[in-house]
């Protein structure tokens, strides 16, 4: 009995240590001004996509998003609109689905393919299948946006955060954070609001 208790205690300590450690790793990641390491992830058309494929791009709008999160769903049309507005100006949207699909079957590769088709995604919808890319970025939730500017030294993080300030009602938005950031970069200006925060769905590990 006593040994059992001791084992249980040791286990509890181990488990809590592990969960706290994992927590910390996902909280780190890119800060404003960091150069992003390129990645190679599978798109819904089964082809692999890297940032280096986009020779003509001036930068990128990276969207960590998914099929199932209510916030991601509320923002889906606005992500599509971002690509329609900015891809032609050199800032395409790259959407990345970071969730563990065993935990969230609604975010499976097949489900991603279906959703992208239903909504006519004009941008790649990549799966972070081994969940290695989102921790590099430090993404913790969906949706979680990163605006990158292509420079000589690489793709530099210029904005991290939310799309805008009203998830409930696109017509009531006062601050379009991502658009403001990209507009500033297109004009060669500094992004004024570099980070924002919003509630989102924790990325499922």
């Amino acid at each position: 009995m006593k040994t059992h208790l001791r084992i249980a205690l040791i286990l509890a300590v181990v488990v809590s240590t592990v969960s706290f450690t994992t927590k910390k790793v996902s909280g780190d990641g890119y800060q404003i001004g960091d150069v992003v390491q390129d990645f190679k992830l599978k798109n819904i058309d089964n082809k692999e996509v890297s940032l280096s494929d986009y020779k003509a791009a001036k930068g990128f709008i990276i969207a960590f998003t998914c099929n199932t999160c209510p916030y991601a769903m509320a923002y889906e049309d606005r992500i599509i609109a971002l690509d329609k507005k900015y891809a032609s100006q050199g800032y395409p949207v790259i959407a990345i689905m970071p969730n563990n699909t065993t935990v969230k079957p609604g975010d499976s590769f097949e489900a991603m393919q279906r959703r992208a088709k239903e909504k006519d995604y004009t941008f790649p919808y990549l799966i972070d299948a081994d969940q290695s890319v989102y921790p590099q970025f430090g993404a913790t939730k969906t949706p979680h946006m990163y605006v990158l500017k292509k420079t000589k030294k690489g793709n530099v993080v210029e904005y991290i955060g939310a799309i805008d300030d009203n998830y409930q009602d696109a017509s009531a938005v006062k601050e379009k954070y991502v658009e403001n950031a990209v507009d500033a970069l297109l004009k060669g200006e500094e992004v004024k609001q570099k980070t924002t925060r919003a509630i989102g769905c924790t990325i499922k590990v």
């Binding site: 249980a8 706290f20 927590k23 509320a74 939310a162 925060r197 919003a198 769905c201």
Partner: protein
Amino acid sequence: MKNSVYLLLIMSALSFGQSKSKAANVIVNGEASQENLEVYDFDEIEKFLNLDDQKVHVVNFWATWCAPCVKELPYFEALQEKYKDQNVEVLLISLDFPNQYESKLKPFIQKKNIKSKVIALNDTDMNTWLPKVNKDWSGAIPATIIYKNGNRHFYEQSFTYEELENQVQTFLK
């Protein structure tokens, strides 16, 4: 580990049955929030995060659509039941969307027979209020604050029952 949680839940259910008069207040809250959910913006919510009353306040941000939140709710319920006589108060702040209060949140509270106090936070300007809860909060939920008077700790993580109880006990010392 799971078994002990179940046991706790069963025990708390039993003890609840026996001490009905004492728990009456809590259940009224449950029914009240079922019938008449209290909805606040952040300015109104802020007072619940800064009570100066010698109690240990365990404030959990959650939503019915958040699977890890729903998973850990029974731990908060068990904690509330076990420590209700030790000045521990659990408050569950729902971040469900307003258009789901009737269809999802209220039925959930009723179906799960949630006894801790549930209130809803409806404030779309998250970039303004999130840092006021905690400067390091990325916005992922579940997230929990445990505080007693000026002493507080913020947790952007999921809890096991053991982890939660351990944290609360550090505030009871």
